[in-house]
């Protein structure tokens, strides 16, 4: 049986759903995030969430559109780890824009083509206003780093590349550059050099501008980057390999204890700690096992024959002796190879761990498998699946362990966090994330990864976008200009020939609505920053836009006037902190938001298979 529900009329339910889902994250967009409890009424469980992605993930939307939203956000999060809020909020805003268009009788095909046009304008603006990473690093040397990083507007894209291009092409920029200089002289007068690593120019400075309110996490990320790049230094082209970054979450310690270490960090139990103390800071022989260390374990894909039955005339030896036999054999292998440390990705049986402890062999379970591979590579070892496979050439050397912290005083189950290090040759680093509040750990880990990915993509793209709404402002400006142009052109044509088409008018309208979506986004971010109410934020944004427009018109001639006006406008604001965004993250988030809107907009029916029950009124049965 199959039912089908018609979604589409002028009130497109799908678009309304996207918009409603987007509303749930409105208060979490931007750098100032509030924690939220999400409670499951049926089970009574609750979860503390902070980021937009975790909100949507924990809400588990079940409707078809909700699933599509979740899928899109997950795909984005997997690659970028930030920008999910931007994606969702814009998807919501643009859904409303599409709904508005439908109300005005603009056809779906036209909405799509005009919106794609708008997206092209925005992406072009992004491309135009990029700032070279190197340039930022240079400014980082000369100017003071902004103290309290805060989301307010930067007036215009800063950075030399844009300036150069802009002076050539764009007529508004001359006075902008003057303005920027004024600003720098006023607010960034004290020049301090603060660079921990002179050999990686300005990365820490640039990272600070990318932290988006997570200074603590970004500090960890920069530490990780510096640890990683100490060895294989490429001055020209520094990269941040996040596949070699691990996190270890440690509850019960104050947040200030968070740090970054070479190698990986594992938690050990009491009896293992005593072994660790005995073998610490020595160069160890180490074996790597991919899989569980139990006698029943078989590699993935091995099927136990179902019908094998042991038959014998004499009494059958019991199963335990078989285990003992296995245990004996394994320990013998370990001893003959003289390994002191065994890392396994799976679990190990309790008796083996204890036997190993007795022989002063440290057996560490549940090691992250990429970490295991990296350590194995650097120590010249070959990971194997079964301990019986181990031979001399599978064993690595040179691994050291350090007791990072003894937790036994906290009376918790893991007794110590131990750092397994190979000396940094492979660039494997682990960030230890600590917090006294269990529920916060997830959020802190998310923040760390968001920052890590931002730095990674910044180094990969080699360019950044002016953040804090500046790029969006520029996009809005261009969209509105294009919208005006189309409406105007159309009006002219209509006057001349009396055969004007509505297409131009519609195009202008759609572009204006897209701009409104972006205005909604920056207004929300401003409101969330906590300094303005919704109404005030809107006023600030529209005043900024007006300034923008006026500057454009009077450029060159009235630069003095514009300067004064700017001075007045900025008097009531704090100095604009310099914040930058990732180019690729922003572009992809926007594009994905629009993809989502397009997919939902074009969907007119839901086909539900397997509806056996009768009485679902609004369904048409096939």
């Amino acid at each position: 049986m199959l039912g089908s529900a018609v979604l589409n009329s002028r009130q497109h339910i799908g678009l309304q759903r996207v918009s409603a889902l987007a509303e749930t994250v409105r208060s979490s967009v931007g750098p100032n995030k509030k924690y939220k409890f999400i409670q499951d009424d049926t089970s009574g469980e609750s979860v503390l969430v902070c980021s937009c992605f975790r909100i949507i993930e924990s809400l588990e939307p079940t409707c078809a559109v909700g699933q599509l939203v979740l899928e899109t956000v997950q795909a984005h999060h997997k690659v970028y780890r930030s920008g999910s809020g931007c994606l969702l909020l814009l998807a919501g805003a643009w859904s409303r824009a599409a709904l508005d268009c439908l109300h005005r009788g603009i056809s779906v095909t036209n909405i799509i083509s005009f919106m794609s046009e708008g997206m092209d304008i925005c992406l072009d603006v992004c491309k135009e206003s990029t700032v070279l990473f190197e340039d930022l690093a240079v400014t980082g040397r000369r100017t003071a780093a902004p103290r309290g990083v805060e989301k307010t507007f930067t007036e215009a894209p800063q950075g030399s590349r844009h300036m150069q291009r802009a002076t050539k092409s764009d007529d508004m920029t001359p006075n902008m550059s003057v303005r920027r200089k004024t600003k720098l002289s006023r607010h960034f007068c004290e020049t301090t050099l603060h660079l921990d690593e002179p050999d990686v120019p300005g990365v820490s400075h640039a990272a600070e501008m990318l932290s988006h309110g997570c200074e603590g996490s970004m500090k960890l990320v920069v530490e990780a980057f510096q640890l990683q790049s100490k060895k294989n230094q490429e001055l020209r082209n520094p990269m941040f390999d996040i596949s070699k970054v691990m996190t270890c979450v440690l509850p019960g310690l104050p947040e200030g204890r968070a740090c970054v270490l070479h190698g990986c960090v594992v938690l050990l139990s009491h009896e293992q700690v005593s072994v660790a103390h005995q073998i610490k800071e020595r160069r160890l022989k180490v074996a790597f096992i991919n899989g569980d260390l139990t006698h029943t374990y078989r590699h993935l894909g091995f099927k136990k024959p179902p019908g094998v039955q042991p038959v014998s005339e004499r009494s059958v030896p019991s199963g335990s002796s078989k285990e003992d036999e296995w245990l004996e054999k394994v320990v013998e292998v370990f001893l003959s190879l003289e390994v002191n440390l065994i890392l396994t990705t799976g679990l190990a049986c309790e008796s083996l761990i204890q036997t190993c402890c007795r022989h002063r062999i440290l057996l560490v379970e549940r090691v992250n498998s990429p970490a295991l591979r990296l350590i194995a590579n650097s120590s010249g070892a070959l990971p194997v699946t079964y301990p019986t496979q181990l031979s001399e050439h599978c064993v690595g050397t040179g691994v050291q362990i350090f007791i990072w912290t003894d937790l036994s005083s906290y009376g918790r189950k893991p007794a110590a966090a131990v750092n397994i290090s190979t000396g940094g040759g492979v660039g494997l680093v682990t960030a230890v994330i600590t917090s006294c509040v269990d529920g916060k750990l997830q959020a802190l880990e998310d923040q760390f990864w968001a920052c890590a990915h931002r730095l990674h993509h910044a180094l990969k793209d080699r360019v950044l976008l002016p953040g804090a709404g500046a790029t969006e402002m520029l996009c809005i400006h261009h969209l509105q200009k294009a919208a005006e142009r189309h409406s105007q052109a159309d009006a002219d044509r209509a006057q001349e020939t009396k055969t004007g088409t509505a297409a131009g008018l519609h195009r202008g309208h759609v572009l204006q609505l897209m701009a409104d979506g972006l205005i909604d986004y920056i207004t929300t971010v401003t409101v969330n920053a906590g300094r303005f109410s919704a109404v005030e934020a809107r006023t600030v944004v529209s005043r900024q836009l007006q300034n923008f427009h006026r500057d454009q018109i009077m450029a060159g001639k009235f630069s003095q006037l514009a300067l004064e006006a700017e001075g007045d406008a900025s008097a009531d604001k704090t100095p604009a902190a310099r914040i930058y965004d990732n180019l690729s993250v922003k572009q992809e988030a926007w594009r994905k938001a629009l993809d989502l809107v397009f997919l939902v907009l074009q969907t007119d029916a839901e086909v539900i298979t397997g509806t056996g029950r009768k009485g679902e009124d609004n369904l048409m049965l096939l």
Partner: protein, 556 residues
Amino acid sequence: MSRLVKKSPSVCTDLPLDNADICNKLRLMRELLGSCYGPTGRLKQIHNNIGGRVVTTSSSSVLLPAIASSEPFVNLIRTSILHHVRRFGDCGLFAAIFCLSLVEQAKQSGLRAKAVIRSNEHLASLCTDYLKQGGCGCKVKLDLCSGRDLVALARSVVSSKPACVLTEPECVHISRLAVRAFLLTVPCDTPGSVSLGQTVRVSVEGLPVTHSAVVPGLLVDTAEDVYLSQPCSLPHPLVLFSASLAGDLSELGDGLIEVHPRVDSDSQVLSQLLELGNQVVRDGVKVFVCQKVIHPVLQLYLTSHGVTVVERLGVTLMEPLIQLTGAQPVATLHSAVQPTAYGQVGGLSVRRFGSKTMLHLQACGESAICTIILCHRNETMLNELKVTCQKAEHVLRLALREPSALRGGGCTETHLAAYVRRQSKSEVPALGRGCSQTEYLRAAEAFCRSLESVARSLEHDGGTSTIDPTHAHRWTRPSDVATERRGVGAGCCGCGSLDGRETWTSAEFPPADLLRDASVQPGVLDSFTAKLNALQVAVETANLALDVRYVIRDVN
């Protein structure tokens, strides 16, 4: 104790087409499929009632299997269209809409079913004969020597699937890739009968569409830290196993086996495996591939002897790999590998696409196997893109057999309708006792209206469809364009070979010669073979549906 339940009698529906419920269902199905038709078609979200995965699509090959009905009569039509789709890959929605609208029109006309069936048969043969003629006005010869026509053909397929959400440059890129992949599967210089190779599709989520690419040879999923054998002597000998080398006794089946407790079957199988590995290494094999799992001990043994190991190839890649390397898959580990079973690999390298690490196997000489890597921003769109590319490949292959195409964008349908109208007016065939002349004329009218309704289904935004009198092409005027100009308006016709500047004169048929002018190439092309077959399937299915007298259902 057994209980007897009385068998309930079968349910018989008399004249299913007179049943209001069935008619409603047919109408619903037509609306559902009709709304998906064409480049501006609407999408459908398919999911089950317990919140399963949501699929967003507008293509018949995904939609038709999903819309199983409780009514066998509706399913009859659905399955016959589905068979067409499976066989030809394209024009499924055309066939479905045409068939359903034929049934509906026949019902509305009130003619006797027999008469309609007779006429439909005749009209269908009239159409197919016309389409096969050399001078047919809606047929375009494809020039296989130039890529332009092929790209246009592929592009019509790619752009007709809005769920792919492609921008214009992305659409062109994918169409070019489809053509390139197709060309790679055509073997060069093979005497005798030519068999086409295969395209393997690999999808990568999260990368931009423009990162999609075509590579000759095969890309195989592999572990991150795959060991590459040194390129000392090309080509590399390769061995391919279809049997599981996991070291278990899975080949034995379900029976009960009694073994002595001291017998360690695992280690015996393992020693067998190692012996096999030993032989393979002695024979100088450099690449060891298994469809299923390979025992880790064997893997370690092989890599330590400089052999590249690939496990879990999967059944779908077996056939392409056999074609690529010429290897014979080995199905057992209990006997030595025959020397003839070894294949050869010309090149071996590791390639990374997004999060995927893949081993690139290239053929030794020339081979007709290639891999197309499809990238898209999210999974929904990627899945649709995969289906679309498959469809494009199918259409291109059909074009090789019959190097012509039909004008797309509804122009073929309107043109055919005009032709049929004209023919039926000029000569009325003798269809025997079953069908009178008036009945034939009215049936022909219904047939033409059905054809035109298919063309009209391309418009989803409330625009008006018109047909010009000279060439009988389809034109649309969007609803939201307040044009006051008279005539068909600006723009061009559905297939893109005519623009609105000319003045229409005659209603002559066959239409003006302009269409056969080589300079005017239509922008939208449909597969000739697929559409011809779709037309026949639609008419035959409609005839069968009209012919059904009773539906008898066993409800036990």
